[in-house]
């Protein structure tokens, strides 16, 4: 299974960052053509990202491109660049409805065929940035078999809700977080928590990570390289959790090898969800 704890945002107009983001070993790298790039530079950033995507350094890291909305002057060309360059995932900002995803999917398929990529190879993820997006979260998450994740974009969502972040327990984000999480779980895809913008506040960042982890988020969208390691450590299982998970997996593999239909460990039956969980725990093992 693909672990997705950290999705590192990289501004598409900064060559220095585009070529070095892989160094921080995030689970996914998101090249941003949308909010990070001024209108004046949309064209040049697109080409930078097109070329950066093809750097050998990104062969082994999941690459995501945040395109501009398809109804903007830039979205379709962004998509072409992404597909042509072999991006793994396309992230659609401001996803309000399942139709947005279906529309995107249709363009992606057309482009995959045009550029000779295996149809279905490019995955999709949706960013929820509005009230509509939140209430449509489940429909969005299930709108396409290509969907692999759904992310909550806090800032724009709160603007739409006519409020702002309060720090602390933040009731203003509760429903949106819950909705996005439920949608993700029901659809069997990953859920990403909001960006933490104060890059100098490690404590605040880690507090928020704990909340997200406890709620069940797979990971978080990150805006600074140093957040990657902090996040990976925070998500790391304890020694005991890791041990147990390894034993579960070993038991499952043993059962599989011997053709037994049932997996057991310490005298107890291990259901598939427990095995899934063990896999997830293993995937989160911290590697420096």
């Amino acid at each position: 299974m693909k672990v997705r704890r950290s999705m590192l945002f990289v501004p598409g107009d900064k060559p220095a960052m585009l070529s070095t983001a892989f160094v921080y070993k995030p689970d996914s790298v998101m090249f941003d053509l949308e909010d990070a790039v001024s209108p004046r530079e949309k064209d040049s950033a697109r080409l930078l990202v097109f070329h950066a995507l093809r750097l050998p350094a990104y062969n082994d890291i999941e690459t995501v491109v945040r395109i501009n909305p398809l109804d903007s002057a830039y979205g379709l060309e962004d998509l072409e660049a992404a597909i042509r360059a072999g991006a793994d995932v396309v992230r659609l900002p401001k996803t309000d409805s399942a139709n947005d995803i279906r529309e995107l999917e249709s363009e992606v398929e057309r482009l995959e065929k045009q550029y000779g990529r295996p149809v279905g190879e490019t995955k999709l993820m949706a960013a929820i940035e509005s009230a509509s997006g939140v209430v449509n979260a489940l429909a969005i998450a299930t709108a396409s078999p290509r969907m692999i994740a759904i992310a909550l974009a806090g800032f724009d969502y709160l603007v739409d809700m006519r409020t702002r972040r309060s720090g602390g327990s933040e009731p203003e984000l509760f429903y949106a977080r819950a909705a996005v999480l439920h949608a993700a779980r029901a659809a069997g895809i990953d859920a990403f928590d909001v960006v933490y913008g104060d890059v100098n506040d490690d404590e605040g960042f880690l507090r928020e990570v704990q909340i997200a982890k406890q709620l069940g988020f797979n990971g978080k969208s990150l805006v600074h390289p140093r957040q990657v390691d902090l996040l990976h450590r925070a998500y790391a299982p304890t020694g005991e959790e890791l041990e147990y998970a390894k034993r579960v997996i070993a038991a499952a593999e043993a059962a599989h090898r011997t053709g037994l239909g049932v997996v057991s460990l310490d005298g107890k039956m291990i259901d598939p969800p427990v095995i899934d969980e063990a896999e997830m725990v293993l995937s989160r093992a911290y590697v420096a």
Partner: protein, 98 residues
């Protein structure tokens, strides 16, 4: 492609480059490169620029590059963007940009 008007792309920041193109009606490519690492990498930078322009079928114009230690991929991207901005039409032909 033909460079029909002046255009500029890029920044002066580290690992980036500023590329300026202008038409020159002289039938030749006048390429000027300034770089802090011109001694070590001047030839490579020039080669990448030549290749990029050749793929775009640009045969005349004045190209001035202020390099701040950019990698090849960034040089390609910036030169391509500059030519596209300077060209009359902005049709993207991905074959020529790959």
């Amino acid at each position: 492609m033909k460079i029909a008007k002046e255009a500029i792309v890029g920044t002066l920041e580290s690992s980036d480059l500023l590329v300026k193109v202008a038409p020159n009606d002289s039938g030749i490519l006048d390429i000027v490169i300034r770089s802090e690492v011109i001694k070590q990498f001047g030839k490579q930078i020039r080669r990448v620029i030549d290749q990029t322009l050749s793929k775009l079928e640009v045969s005349e114009g004045t190209i001035i590059v202020e390099d701040k230690g950019a990698l090849e991929y960034a040089i390609r991207a910036r030169v391509q963007s500059a030519v596209l901005r300077g060209a009359a039409s902005e049709e993207l032909n991905w074959e020529q940009l790959s």
